[in-house]
Subunit: 413 residues, 2 copies
């Protein structure tokens, strides 16, 4: 009653991973040497190496003619392509696209951003993105010859299993654009493409690159125009059953509160989103309409603003605290420019979370500010690609299988 999905694909990928790992560790090897090291039959091994050769992940270095001094036909020795295993992360925001590219060793080898108008069309954004990819490739001498996958982050809920148009009320839907972007990247690069929510990707990036040794259980919340988040549970990025996981902004805080765009009252977003914070300060007599205004008010410790910010931190802490009691994360990360400006939000949230949590020292998570910058979404998209390896934590809901049927194109055409 418990059937693993795609066992054969998984096993093939496992074999490929092992072959690549052996080549990474040992350098050039003949097929026979590889087969004995990974414990595969020669037939299976040959199938795998031809796929890897065709894909450009490995190449023929030379033969072992010198070593065997004339006995029989020389065997070819295979090596990793020097740039084997490039992974590209793309983050489409409202006003810019960001791209980062990592090599097989998970080092970032190229990155950059390109800005566009908030009202620009998706074909325009795509053009900007492809120009950016070409530019940073030229600058960093990266030719995308060993690109193995592309992760793309968008605003809004997302799951590959989601039907076409399921925006939150009041939100723009990005799925049709997602389909366009997905198809364009697939056509241009011919490698697997995965798409997910960009805030969720940012949460994954914080779990992997923002937390020292890496966090297997992390709760990430970002205060911005809206409030989004991401959950990493048992090393997996959580999508939810239908792509809506991490929507902390719509957890109720105040049952008789302000009407939210979602239809409920008193959602966290009506208290702690950036527009809500500005509106609340303004309504209480301290007009604030920009981060500069807020920065100035914080600098002089305006008591009205401080009290608004404490309420924001408290509401945030109550929502995070409730979810943390249920999930027992090892780490809680709070992000968003407003939290960098107004530290009192973070301070109050920490205090409220501490009250809400189980009073057991072992259950207490580390609570910290987000560490990564504007490239967090792009980095998280790369991390999600790494997760596709079946030997790493799984990241099951991808379009990987679909895209494998597409033609292989390995350079920017």
């Amino acid at each position: 009653m418990f059937k693993p999905a795609g066992v054969h694909t998984l096993i093939r990928q496992t074999h490929e991973d092992r072959v690549l790992r052996v080549l990474r560790e040992h350098g050039a090897l003949t097929r026979g040497e590889i087969a004995s090291r990974v414990g595969l039959s020669r037939t299976t091994l040959s199938e795998i190496t031809s796929v890897l050769l065709e894909r450009g992940a490995i190449k023929i270095a030379n033969t072992d003619a010198d070593a065997r001094a004339g006995r029989g036909r020389p065997a070819e020795r295979l090596v990793l392509d020097p740039g084997a295993g490039q992974f590209m992360g793309v983050d489409f925001g409202h006003r810019r696209v960001r791209v980062a590219v990592s090599d097989a060793a998970h080092e970032i080898i190229a990155s950059g951003a390109e800005f566009y108008g908030a009202d620009s069309s998706w074909p325009e954004r795509l053009d900007s993105c492809f120009r950016l990819i070409e530019r940073i490739g030229a600058e960093s001498d990266v030719h995308y010859g060993a690109l193995q996958g592309i992760g793309i982050g968008f605003p809004g809920p997302h799951s590959p299993r989601m039907p076409k148009s399921t925006p939150l009320p009041g939100s723009q839907t990005f799925r049709p654009a997602g389909d366009l972007v997905y198809g364009s990247f697939l056509e241009k690069f011919g490698v697997p493409v995965i798409i997910d929510n960009n805030t969720r990707f940012a949460g994954l990036a914080e779990a992997i690159w923002g937390s020292g040794a890496g966090a297997r259980n992390l709760l990430y919340v970002r205060l911005s125009d809206g409030i989004g988040g991401g959950l990493v549970v048992g090393g997996q990025l959580v999508t939810g059953a239908s792509g809506f996981a991490g929507e902390f902004g719509h957890v109720s805080v105040s049952p008789n509160g302000i009407q939210c765009r979602c239809g409920k009252r008193g959602c966290l977003e009506t208290i702690a989103s950036v527009p809500a914070i500005f509106a609340s300060c303004t309504a209480k007599g301290v007009p604030i309409s920009s981060f500069d205004d807020l920065r100035a008010a914080v600098a002089k410790s305006d008591p009205i603003v401080t009290s608004v910010l404490r309420e924001v931190g408290d509401a945030l802490g109550r929502v995070i605290g409730s979810v943390a009691v249920a999930l027992n994360p090892g780490e809680i990360v709070i992000g968003g420019e407003v939290v960098q400006i107004a530290e009192v939000i973070f301070e109050q949230a920490v205090a409220t979370i501490a009250y809400e949590l189980l009073p057991v020292p072992e259950a207490a998570p580390r609570i910290r500010l987000a560490q990564l910058g504007d490239d967090d979404g792009a980095l998280g998209a790369i991390a999600a690609l790494f997760h596709q390896s079946p030997l790493l934590a799984s990241y099951p809901e991808t379009k990987h299988d679909e895209s494998q049927q597409s033609p292989m194109q390995r350079s920017i055409s």
Copy 2:
């Protein structure tokens, strides 16, 4: 920066799984036939079959002497042990222990319960349990000859990584008992033993056996003396960073509410646990001290009791709704005898959850009553063992590696 843990163990297990699967599908095969079917070298395959033979998972059926008619030495043909892959689930409750045993096809082949006094010692409980195992084995002609693992459920938070004594305030700690029980089972059976919270196991069982096709994202809450729960996220049972995941009873509902044993005020447990429900009815003038009292009050639709039960359902729905907004489960399951007796709790919880959720049809989970009976914890323990296979969803925090170093004993000594 992203190192998979225990890759070699994982690969060995993957190979074992594939060999067992091929034998399950094809019946008796020679080593050569297995090797070609799974794509492994003869050397690797022989190593794997000797381990499986030693463990009793497979056995030698006959040779291929007939087929090859005298050409060369006959090759042995291997088959699955008829009872290969027995898995035992044990659930120690306050007043009884329950055991269920499944075969390799995941069918339950033996089960039963043994009662003990709530004040009996752990050595006494262990004796009861071992007697029970012997009795149901004899009744069902199950000799535990192919036992591959034992899952044991306890009340209270649990994680193999947890320090020794971390009870919730007001709770008994079960960890020292857990160590005793773990050691006793390991010594007696010599197979991998995993231990976890029994309510969490019940949640996993509901996800796998209570939901038709199986739920990959499920939120389970049980109202009892306390309130516990379990979360399945992306097919994984969630333990949390330190073993406290699923403690829905201590999510705050009413900031100015009743003092909870955990030190906070207005936790869900102060409103919706069975003792809290009885106390609330009694305080409002309808003395209730047993399920029979409650059943009688429900039968005559007592308005005071109904109003208490609606408050219970509402508090429950608010907690579940908040967590569900964050996690986007596909299924929500509410369990506990009190919910079976007082359906209005469930009705009100469903209504409140519907309000709390994102108003997007695609995000709406199925909400249902628990389907399984008192053996849910034992069944979930078995399910957790199945999860140990690397090709199924992972269940990483186990003592599997430790126990593999123990001597192999395959029958009750």
